[in-house]
Symmetry: C4
Subunit: 196 residues, 4 copies
């Protein structure tokens, strides 16, 4: 199978995930004051955070697949496995948002992010297994400090949710910002310069 | 019509089906304990199962259409017929999930899977009718033991739902696993080796 | 603008419309008997009908745009106007279905089909205005008996809904079947043979 | 990254946004009189308005990206930022519609339109920053009187909502019409002729 088809399908699923999340931002029926909006603040915040995360995954996913010449059955299922955990993000986002960042939902949000990160790593391994340790993907994965740091930060945030949801939420924001900051600048600090 | 357009539309519909299913995993409002999650377990399980099934259909559908040079009106409608039954999967999944695998919903789930399998078979026949018994599709369909076994297993699972939902559910899982296992390995056992 | 982009966007919208309709087939919570299914019968029937209609529009739309070399601003807005009325189809379908084909919803369903047909005709005119009366589209539109008959049948069905919803519903089914029947066969009867 | 991928993803998100909005047009359960329809009038009106706005953005977005040869990380995030505010349009539309154009929701609708316009302007700046002040995009942006007028009109409509929602709503309609009117005609009046 060509990479193009896998990308188009993944793009479709990611476009739907990113848009479906906004449905949890329920229209307040019969209320037209600004208070109705302020009560939606946590849902809005969690939507912003997850929108950024899905955007980051979309971006990284494309860089990854662009460096992948051939798609095998194993790669296809590793990709669907990643899409599966990302499809749970709207649920985790909504649960955290409507319950104003309560401990359990905040921890579960971290678990879903962690599982998505593991799925991404498995997808990378499946591609490297097919295309060899000297492939573009293998080289990029080796230097990928952000990819190695993120799961550790999620792992820290999950138990932290029960101590302070603000600390846990802060970690989720920091990881997102770490990816959001233009690659060139952060990469100059963290890794050897590259063209990724 | 070219195959590309049919594929793009089918990809779109399948991407939406796979993502819409997660909407039945309703965000628990006003509950933030782990019990709220455990109660969602059957819904989650049925979501996983159907996610895998839609993934399998997406995969098989593409292999089928890649071997199809031309699309006729008959093929187009056979394809829409398949998409129709797959679009009912989220309903059947949700019904089975929210009712904790009760007999009737579990049987109905099997009926929908069976009808989707029949629709897939009809699509194959429509392609063979157009492109001839010596086409790639005809050759692949002849060897397609998994495609012949699946409907029989669904047929067995439907009445079995009223005896033991676990047995019926087990059959759905086994069929999914049969397709999930990398083709090369299972095909070496079941059929003559091929390049599909 | 190239036709490809307009087609891809329209495909996306049509794929979502066709899939969103199924959401009105609400999962019966807390009911697991076959009665729960039978009560959904009218919703299911109306879904089947609209699924076929959207399928027909998707098919015709593509034939139309394939014969369109260039897209102008006017064509683009005529296309969005068509997508607008088709996006109302899920609402009309749901209203007719959940109320068991009551007169007003059944008439409104016809109104929406009529407006979509008018929008399709306007899109055709916009394309002919740009590409000339001797273009492929103009030639096909001239012979398009089904396209001329359908709005008249909707017009008849709308008032008929208040006399007999079965007669009105019957007309909707007949129009759908008229388009469903393989083109070649019906065209041999209705029009001069063509390659459309 | 190539422009094509960004366009395809944006098309997907815009197609979903435009279709998701119709979900706020809730099917009246258990009511089949024409009154049930008339009560939906404000929701329908607001849907029409937002459908046109998303259509305008889709159109302008494509003209913009067609003139963009290369996509950088900055352009990608500026694009996601635009999609973010557009994804809030269904919420703002629904809130304004179900509450019959009450002052606060009508003002919030203007705020979301304003933020989307700002995001569009930022996307333009990101493209110009990459491709230079002499690029096609820079030339088009310089002449873009409509793009400069729209945010000012939204800015006027927001406080006006608290004086007269009809005046504010009128401004939203006027801005939409300003973009809807075929470019060539209005551009002859407003700007020097161009090929955009």
């Amino acid at each position: 199978m060509e990479t193009g088809r896998l990308e188009a399908f993944s793009d479709g699923v990611l476009a739907i995930i990113i848009t479906i999340m906004v449905l949890e931002l329920k229209v307040p029926h019969g209320r037209t004051d600004t208070d109705a909006l302020s009560e939606l603040w946590p849902v809005f915040l969690s939507y912003v955070l997850s929108f950024v995360y899905i955007g980051i995954y979309w971006n990284n996913h494309h860089h990854l697949l662009q460096a992948t010449p051939r798609v095998t059955g194993m790669i296809m299922w590793a990709n669907l496995h990643l899409l599966f955990w990302l499809s749970i993000v709207p649920f985790a986002t909504g649960w955290m948002g409507v319950n104003h960042f309560a401990p359990v939902p905040t921890a579960v949000y971290g678990v879903v992010l962690l599982l998505a990160a593991v799925a991404y790593w498995l997808l990378q391994r499946a591609i490297i297994a097919e295309h060899g340790g000297k492939s573009l993907v293998a080289a990029a994965a080796g230097r990928d400090l952000k990819g190695k740091l993120s799961p550790l930060l999620y792992l820290a945030a999950i138990p932290l949710s029960f101590v302070s949801v603000w600390a846990a939420g802060g970690i989720y924001v920091v990881v997102a910002l770490m990816w959001l900051v233009p690659d060139r600048r952060i990469e100059r600090v963290l890794t050897k310069p590259d063209d990724a």
